[in-house]
């Protein structure tokens, strides 16, 4: 039972690196004063890149600290994705942080703290480490949402996120306590799944499962726990919204996937139909797809639109999860990868929406962009077509994977409903394209900074050529998915 302590430390080397980096960077920041923002940001990016390299080069497997942490291929895939998204966001944020006057050295430190929480919650093996990791991750996010504290909307976003997030944490904890009590003292996923396997299912356990899934559904902003998303995305500074939409979302989805497959997956069906978790996931998938598709139509602010778009896409991701098979989890991983890359591109675009009089966020400000800035308009059109799911762009393949996984698991109705929602949502994506290419130009944007151009290029190329590169990602995602079963 008692594994060599050094072997356990080797397993969590990336986490240890981040933890040490946080402490060191904070001390450097505290002693070198206000102007250390750039240095700390560069160092933080370096720490994250080092952690990614470590994850790629050290494919270790096993459990550390009893059942606290599970290191497997799934965790590695998710961690690499989340950390990569996080450091790209940090690179993109430098210009905006200067312009928005929130260029404090605490910002990269908070990003690192949030990343540490993400890594720990992705590899969580019991409810205690899951909760602590989630809380570390979320607490840093609440502060980041309110980072532009002199801006009333940012402060509002932070407060709203904090209060609702605490409520969700409360639901999650209540669910965990019910699971702990009714399972006879299990908090580890394997122990819980053995208790859940018993037929007929215990009412108390189902109650606990519902509360736990409700708490996690809040973190991935699935309907009906999505209310905070548009306000927070709109109010928070744009680079931080980008962090919410990419890295934070990847980690939260990873947690819900691991929990559902490893812990709830074995649960006995309720009343002869589906297991309780499947009923819940199917419902929130349907609700998220449709609410996001309809509510997005009325949006005039591009950040709010992205929030509704992310709600819809969480719906598609949950369709893949509802299948509960290896193919289903593979489709979730690939969808998440494709979605995160497009979102990084979209937010690089939003960050570049700067006019002479400052940054703008209205969709109407994009009018006639194809004539004033054809590169930006072209890239954004590519992303919009891809989000709408038009072949041969990457978004089409994402939807193809999740819907075929759902059909193979006999969820034909769910797949058809998803396609209908995709058609509805295509309206607002195509409207942006129409505004950019058909409407008369209103004004011009300032020249795009180099780092944003680079992100836009990379994510545009990935979106465009995914149909060639996809073959390369598929086996990787499959290995990751298999490690969960």
């Amino acid at each position: 039972m008692h594994m060599d302590i050094m072997a356990q430390f080797m397993l969590i080397l990336p986490e240890l690196l981040l933890a040490a980096g946080i402490v060191v960077l904070m001390l450097i920041g505290a002693f070198s004063g206000e102007r250390s923002y750039t240095v700390i940001t560069v160092l933080a990016i370096g720490v994250m890149i080092a952690a990614v390299i470590m994850l790629i080069t050290l494919p270790l497997q096993g459990t550390a600290f009893g059942t606290a942490l599970i290191c497997d291929a799934f965790g590695r895939f998710m961690k690499i994705m989340a950390l990569t998204a996080a450091f790209i966001v940090l690179i993109m944020s430098v210009g905006a942080a200067r312009a928005g006057k929130f260029d404090k050295f605490e910002f990269p430190v908070l990003v690192l703290l949030s990343c540490l929480g993400m890594l720990l919650m992705i590899s969580a093996g019991n409810m205690l480490s899951l909760y602590l990791g989630l809380e570390l991750h979320s607490l840093a996010l609440y502060v980041m949402a309110a980072l532009d504290r002199d801006n009333a909307r940012s402060a509002e976003a932070g407060l709203k996120y904090f209060i609702l997030g605490s409520l969700a944490s409360g639901l999650l904890l209540y669910g965990i306590s019910l699971l702990y009590g009714y399972s006879g003292g299990h908090i580890d996923f394997t122990g819980l799944s053995q208790v859940l396997r018993k037929d007929p299912p215990q009412l108390g356990l189902i109650f606990g499962l519902v509360f736990v899934l409700a708490g996690l559904a809040f973190k991935i902003s699935a309907v009906p726990f999505h209310m905070w998303t548009p306000d927070v995305y709109e109010g928070a500074p744009t680079p931080i919204s980008a962090f919410f939409a990419t890295a934070a979302k990847i980690a939260a989805v990873a947690v819900i996937v691991r929990l559902v497959i490893m812990c709830f997956g074995a649960a006995a069906p309720v009343a002869g139909s589906m297991p309780a978790w499947q009923q819940i996931i199917v419902f929130i998938a349907l609700a998220s797809m449709f609410l996001g598709a309809f509510a997005g139509i009325a949006q005039r602010n591009i950040k709010r639109l992205m929030a509704y778009s992310s709600i819809t896409h969480i719906g598609y991701i949950l369709v893949g999860l509802a299948a509960g098979t290896i193919i289903g989890v593979t489709s979730v991983l690939l969808y998440l990868l494709i979605y995160a890359v497009i979102m990084l591109g979209c937010f690089a675009f939003i960050l570049a929406m700067n006019t002479e009089s400052g940054p703008v966020e209205k969709i109407d400000d994009l009018a006639g962009l194809s004539r004033t800035n054809p590169f930006m308009a072209g890239a954004m059109s590519l992303f919009m077509f891809s989000l709408a799911g038009i072949p041969p762009l990457s978004g089409f393949f994402g939807k193809w994977y999740v819907f075929s996984a759902a059909v193979q698991a006999h969820f034909v109705v769910l797949a058809v409903a998803g396609m209908i929602a995709a058609v509805i949502a295509a309206f607002y994506y195509l409207r942006i394209v129409k505004i950019m290419w058909v409407d008369e130009p209103k004004g011009r944007f300032l020249a795009m900074p180099k780092e944003l151009q680079l992100v836009l290029w990379l994510s545009g190329l990935f979106t465009l050529f995914y149909f060639l590169a996809g073959i390369w990602f598929l086996p990787w995602a499959e290995t990751a998915a298999k490690s969960l079963f």
């Binding site: 946080i22 550390a64 606290a68």
Partner: protein
């Protein structure tokens, strides 16, 4: 059953605690209320000590007296709360308060009865046997588990608190310009040569 010398202390702590608790709600001055509340906490921790739970006793002192009660005092003294105004509504809320008190009392009686008057006897309700003689203090026992089996969670909780601290500083610390602050270095550097200036004042004229 507590007997002998311990019983004397038990009744001493218990009586002072009840009297102080009544004074918390009876005192006119809110500062006195908070001070009586601190007295309640001190006596409660004395009762814990008598029961052999010395860790709980010390935590009660540190957390409730050291932090919570002092926070109450700060709030009472620094915020201008009109307590006379608050007390005016007491007659209206008294029935609800009384009802809540009665429910709590009834619950306590039920818990007591279920343990002591169940048909299987008082020992039936105790599922976990209480260790007769403690081989070590419970502070040591808690520490043994907290710093070995649960050290990972402990460290992680430390990082969460660090985040909370950074967050509070980032969101609340304003560096105002134009504020005159004490500079210890400047003060220490001063000596008679730099601090005193001798001026020759002619008689009959000002400076």
């Amino acid at each position: 059953m507590i007997t002998g010398f311990a019983a004397v202390f038990f009744y001493l702590f218990a009586v002072i605690m009840i009297v102080a608790a009544i004074m918390v709600i009876a005192a006119r001055n809110p500062v006195h209320s908070v001070l009586f509340l601190i007295l309640v906490f001190f006596n409660a921790s004395g009762l814990f000590l008598l029961g052999g739970a010395e860790f709980l006793a010390m935590i009660l002192l540190m957390v409730y007296v050291g932090a919570v009660a002092v926070l109450f005092l700060f709030v009472v003294m620094m915020l201008d709360v009109d307590f006379a105004e608050l007390k005016r509504g007491m007659g209206r809320y008294a029935p609800i308060g009384g009802l809540v008190g009665l429910i709590v009392l009834a619950e306590l009686i039920f818990v007591f009865m279920s343990v002591h008057f169940s048909p299987a006897g008082p020992d039936a309700a105790v599922t976990q046997p209480v260790p007769a003689a403690l081989p070590r203090s419970n502070t040591q026992a808690l520490g043994d588990i907290l710093y070995t089996d649960y050290v990972f969670y402990f460290e992680l909780a430390g990082f969460i608190l660090l985040t909370a601290m950074i967050g509070a500083i980032v969101l609340a610390l304003h560096h105002r310009s134009g504020v005159k602050r004490q500079s210890v270095g400047e003060q220490v550097k001063r000596n008679p040569q730099t601090a005193i200036e001798v001026k020759k004042v002619e008689s009959g004229k000002g400076i």
